[in-house]
Subunit: 165 residues, 2 copies
């Protein structure tokens, strides 16, 4: 699925020959700013997820071998949704981490993210999420992740535009 807002086009694509999802998105940002947006917890909670929710960090240690946990909510339905994982690799050009939604504690995804410098202050972000089964991958696609992804990146666009990153 491809969606375009006034600030950017996000492509979210199921990869058919393996249980993965690829996301490609351009930002008016340098690679370093995008790494910061994904590793600084105070920045991260300001943009990640759908507009309707509030993220709170439980723990966060963004270094190779570190780990993270955050809680989304309580939202309009009064529910909280928690997520955790570990940082396999934190480099200047690449982030690799694991991801579990605690509602499905036995599912896990491996997320790799890298940053292609397009010059003139623009960067193409590539995200590759690999799931431990096709069921997990399809459940994620059906969960409404595109709303969270698109809302989140639009919020990140605004933070970048206002010079907050």
């Amino acid at each position: 699925m491809t969606s375009t807002t006034s600030t950017g086009t996000t492509t979210i694509e199921a990869v058919e020959d393996m249980p993965s999802i690829r996301i490609v998105r351009d930002f008016a940002a340098t690679p370093a700013q995008l790494v910061r947006a994904h590793t600084d917890p105070e920045l991260f909670v300001q943009w990640v997820g759908p507009n309707s929710t509030t993220m709170t960090v439980d723990y966060w240690d963004a270094r190779t071998g570190g780990s993270w946990r955050y809680v989304d909510g309580p939202g309009a339905d009064g529910e909280e949704y928690a997520f955790h994982g570990c940082f396999h690799e934190v480099r200047e050009d690449r982030l690799v981490q694991t991801f579990t939604y605690e509602g499905y504690p036995d599912s896990v995804a491996l997320e790799s993210m890298w940053f292609e410098d397009l010059g003139q202050g623009r960067t193409r972000m590539h995200v590759h999420s690999l799931f431990d089964s096709y069921e997990s991958r399809d459940g994620m696609l059906r969960s409404g992740m595109d709303v969270g992804v698109n809302d989140g990146y639009a919020k990140l666009d605004r933070l970048l535009a206002e010079g907050s990153v």
Copy 2:
């Protein structure tokens, strides 16, 4: 490929529809002993890998959100091989961790391991390694991993038999 030693049969299988490897192996051990063999660094270095090598732990923190790194060698060829990852999940019945051989620093696998209690002091261990590409998976299968896996599990059989786990 399936191989049988005097102490156990190990099945190592490429899973065709996703870039993964499944290993199944029975042990004369309880699930708790197998978790210990995989999480206690002093035990782990005594059995992991081929007979020809010596493992040294660089760092090791076997808890959910912890991380690890170990070095194999120097072996007969004078070379050292290093590996690192993070522990996504450490539970009584299940271990999930990431794995990178530092010779290929951009490759990463996600390894899930669970323990099926067969009763009478026997346990069937299931390992599912998911790779970020078919190339990585096939490279691992071609690397001679079956020697390391079979040598390692035979050493673990001996440690279990002598009451060291």
